[in-house]
């Protein structure tokens, strides 16, 4: 485990002088020299062609979704299917938005995602700051207790986690059918704390000591030194949190039984299981629901890919 948990976050600081490790053109298994022989070059291009062809297996289903949504019902169920819609019904997307009541579900999803973002950032940043820079007695034990939750498969304690949300211990507050029932459990994110702490650890202690001598309190050190210096890592954690909240199905499905509170993924499951909407509208609904994470990914591609590869997180 040690290897997967060792994080190199120096790239996030953005040293312009240091070329990013990921895009380096270091030599690999095959040397450039070897590729000079015509047979080897042919093999290289064969592999290249195969890899391009293989990308069709990932891209074509996504194309099929976006283009299927443009077909009318007759064309959609026609056999053999048309590769390109004979007539593009762009209005299907608008119809799907209306019929599936997406304004509400989109709003709900945004509320869930941004609420999760704010709560997780506040909780994780202050915890990571404390563990990294304030270092209270017993901090190492606390960190271990945080990280050990990563080892427990979440499905194993699904029932007690659910019962906790049904009625909060001691306070006896029910969180079922409230945003808090989704937001608060998400705040216990060992992963966020771990990534943020690794980054904070690289900020020199001297900086903190100097600020301390100048009379800055912990709050000022956090808000005026740590956070401004950590913008890149905070951005990565934020993108992951937003995309993660957008994709989430099972927990909101358990906690939010009221239709008017449900996020898009739960609504999609319910609408598709009911089988009352025409299929092209459901497919348009799928396409609409995938568009925000795809756009976020395309915009922040570099940060996301580096974040994944350097922290070992998969989307």
């Amino acid at each position: 485990m040690a290897r997967s948990l060792s994080v190199n976050l120096s790239w996030l600081r953005g040293h312009p002088s240091r070329p990013a490790q990921f895009d380096s053109n270091e030599r690999t298994l095959i040397s450039p020299l070897e590729l000079r022989s015509p047979a080897k070059r042919a093999a290289y291009w064969l592999v290249f062609g195969t890899l391009v062809a293989l990308t069709m297996t990932t891209l074509f289903p996504i194309y099929w979704m976006y283009s299927g949504a443009l077909k009318d019902t007759g064309e959609l169920i026609r056999m053999p299917p048309t590769l390109v819609p004979t007539e593009a019904h762009w209005e299907n997307y608008l119809k799907a938005w209306d019929n599936l009541n997406y304004t509400r579900y989109f709003a709900n999803t945004l509320i869930l995602a941004f609420g999760a973002l704010v709560i997780q950032l506040v909780v994780s940043t202050s915890a990571a700051f404390s563990l990294s820079k304030l270092k209270p007695a017993g901090g190492k034990v606390v960190l271990f207790l945080f990280l050990s939750t990563l080892m427990v498969p979440s499905m194993a304690y699904l029932i007690p986690a659910y019962l906790t949300v049904v009625s909060l211990p001691i306070a006896n507050i029910p969180l079922i059918d409230t945003w808090w029932g989704v937001w608060l459990p998400g705040a216990a994110s060992a992963f966020n704390i771990f990534v943020l702490k690794s980054f904070f650890d690289e900020i020199p202690q001297d900086l903190i000591d100097a600020a301390n001598i100048d009379g800055a309190g912990a709050v000022r050190i956090l808000t005026q030194i740590m956070i401004p210096l950590s913008r890149p890592v905070l951005a990565v954690v934020s993108i992951f949190t937003l995309i993660g909240a957008w994709k989430d199905f099972f927990w909101p499905f358990l906690v939010l039984s009221k239709v008017e509170l449900q996020p898009i993924m739960v609504a999609l499951w319910r609408l598709s299981a009911r089988m009352q909407e025409p299929m092209n509208l459901i497919i348009a609904g799928l396409a609409i629901a995938s568009t925000p994470p795809i756009i976020l990914f395309l915009i922040f591609q570099k940060q996301i890919i580096r974040g994944i590869t350097l922290t070992g997180l998969k989307g």
Partner: protein, 306 residues
């Protein structure tokens, strides 16, 4: 060191006060996280053990029942079916999806052009919300309007019943799940491959090592640590199979895709038998812990044999 005792006492007290203050501030910043973990992680994990030995009713509360939840779970005829299905899914997912991302990453890493295109294209399915990919593939597998039967028809092969075929349905779930996840694993391997020092390759080349020998003796040993970690993570992930069968087949046909977590879900949320569900969760927990221990033992043995 030679401080007069009169001065040492207040200084020690000051130091004590300062350290108390430092700790208090430190824990103040930790408080939100401590509360969140205590309420939503630590307490539920401990409570899982307790509820496993209780009959839990949302209205009437809890009542101790000893081992009877476990007896119930082990006497359920669906229990062996669910474990067999889950293991079958895990095995098939390893068979189809474990080595493929490694090979893909090794090949992509050798490409002089288009690396970022490959990375993007192979990763795109991972970005789709799981609910979308599952519903999308449910449509592909549709007997009348699905893509796969259309392709089979076009090339003149008999169409299949896919999700309604007891022998095919598990494979359908594995293919979908591999499609949806392999890109993420591939990115991790690509990163690991970037970390292989080039001087190793150069030295091997000077010694006249062929391409295959370099692959076998340098590349693979260098990424073996990542491969082992991802193996265990994949097993732990696939053993918790839920969304795919829940959305695609609801465990059918004839319980052919009923997974352990689905059974747990049914105990808890269809029959409101929280005790049995928690007991099954505990069993799952111990099985997965056994996997993790096996894995750690394996890695230690391998690193010792080096």
């Amino acid at each position: 060191m030679n401080t007069p005792p009169a001065l040492a006492a207040p200084r020690a007290r000051l130091r004590l006060l300062a350290s108390l203050r430092r700790n208090a501030v430190g824990y103040l910043f930790l408080l939100p996280a401590l509360l969140a973990f205590a309420t939503f992680s630590w307490y539920p994990i401990v409570r899982g053990f307790i509820i496993s030995f209780q009959k839990y009713d949302l209205v009437k509360g809890a009542e101790w029942v000893g081992w009877s939840n476990f007896e119930f779970v082990f006497n359920d005829p669906l229990m062996p079916i669910a474990w067999r299905n889950t293991l079958q899914f895990t095995m098939l997912a390893l068979l189809i999806g474990y080595l493929m991302p490694v090979m893909l990453a090794i090949l992509v890493n050798e490409m002089k052009r288009g690396k970022s295109y490959f990375r993007l294209a192979y990763y795109l399915p991972v970005i789709l919300p799981p609910m979308v990919s599952v519903l999308l593939w449910k449509w592909f597998y549709d007997m009348d309007t699905g893509l796969f039967n259309a392709i089979l028809q076009a090339i003149g092969l008999p169409t299949q019943r896919w999700l309604f075929d007891r022998n095919l349905v598990m494979l359908c779930l594995v293919v979908l799940s591999t499609w949806a996840n392999a890109g993420g694993t591939m990115l991790l391997y690509l990163a690991a491959l970037q970390g292989v020092p080039s001087h190793l390759y150069e030295a091997a080349e000077i010694d006249g090592a062929s391409l295959w020998r370099r692959l076998w003796h340098i590349t693979l040993p260098q990424i073996r640590g990542v491969m082992l970690i991802l193996l265990v993570l994949q097993i732990i992930g696939t053993m918790q199979l839920f969304t795919e069968p829940f959305v695609m087949t609801d465990g059918g046909p004839a319980n052919a895709t009923l997974s352990v977590v689905m059974l747990l879900y049914r105990y808890g949320f269809r029959f409101y038998n929280f005790g049995a569900a928690a007991a099954l969760g505990l069993i799952l927990f111990f099985v997965l812990v056994a996997f993790s221990i096996l894995y750690m033992w394996l890695t230690r043995r391998i690193s010792q044999s080096l």
